[in-house]
């Protein structure tokens, strides 16, 4: 896999089918449905303690707006990922081009996915720092690999935004 900036695009080339499939899973991975721990993390409360009035107001006014914001980001990413659709049986490598104007949507969707996967798997800080772990061992290892892959992509996008 190669990743580089080309004019107004971030180009990910030589994407093998396995990595392409993991990228295709970003929007689905960001879905908190049926995962209370993930829902709790993504829509965390604005205050610790017992200020129930603020929490109730937050749920009523702010949370729906955040939900819309996160959904818009994953939809933008989903649309970009359509480039990888079709010919799924082929073992040929693919190329994905992300318009730089979608960089913020990608940062958000990647972050949502990483947080949801981490919450669903209850990863420890130690596990999250273990970048050498093989993705082949188990479903849990694969999820950890997914978190790290998405993190790598986030780092690259952040670096490009910084330029």
């Amino acid at each position: 896999m190669e990743i580089r900036r080309r004019k107004n695009q971030i180009e990910i080339s030589d994407l093998d089918p396995f990595l392409a499939e993991l990228l295709r899973q970003i929007p689905a991975s960001a879905n908190t449905e049926g995962a209370p721990a993930a829902e709790q993390r993504i829509f965390s409360l604005p205050i610790n303690g017992k200020e129930t009035e603020l929490c109730a107001e937050w749920k009523m006014y702010v949370e729906p707006e955040l939900r819309r914001l996160f959904q818009t980001a994953t939809q933008t990413v989903g649309a970009d990922l359509e480039q990888l659709n079709g010919n799924e049986q082929s073992l040929a490598n693919r190329t994905l081009r992300i318009p730089t104007k979608h960089a913020d949507a990608w940062l958000s969707a990647l972050n949502q996915a990483r947080l949801v996967i981490a919450a669903k798997n209850n990863f420890t800080e130690r596990e999250l720092s273990d970048h050498l772990r093989s993705p082949i061992g188990s479903r849990r290892d694969l999820s950890l690999f997914q978190v790290n892959l998405y993190g790598f992509l986030q780092e690259f996008i952040l670096r490009e935004l910084d330029c």
Partner: protein
């Protein structure tokens, strides 16, 4: 930072929470009442915006968010990011409650763990 504007679809739209204010006194000019009002305003100033540690969010991402949300220069944003990482939390801003809530709302839009806290 990028000179490009934020993509419109991911910009955080701030929603001040509609909250009824405490009913004002009917005799506004009375000195005792004024003292109470001032005390109330002072109390309203005493709120912190606190960001809590999170093992998932990248350090570079957290730094970028602090720069964007608070307009802090990179070195100050990095100092706060390191404080969050090493001490588990950092106070990013202090002031009036309503503004503190708006900051927390923005930080949640970037998926950071943030709360408001009353200054004890």
């Amino acid at each position: 930072m990028s000179s490009e504007p934020l993509a419109a679809e991911v910009a955080v739209r701030l929603i001040p929470i509609p909250r009824p204010r405490s009913a004002g006194p009917s005799t506004i000019g009375a000195p005792t009442i004024e003292k109470e009002t001032r005390a109330e305003e002072e109390l309203d100033l005493a709120w912190h915006v606190v960001v809590h540690n999170d093992p998932v969010n990248l350090m570079s991402y957290v730094t970028m968010v602090f720069q964007r949300v608070f307009g802090y220069p990179r070195d100050r944003a990095e100092r706060h990011m390191l404080e969050v990482h090493q001490k588990g939390r950092s106070i990013l801003w202090s002031g009036m409650r309503e503004r503190a809530e708006l900051y927390v709302q923005q930080l949640h839009g970037y998926l950071l763990l943030a709360t408001i806290e009353k200054v004890s």
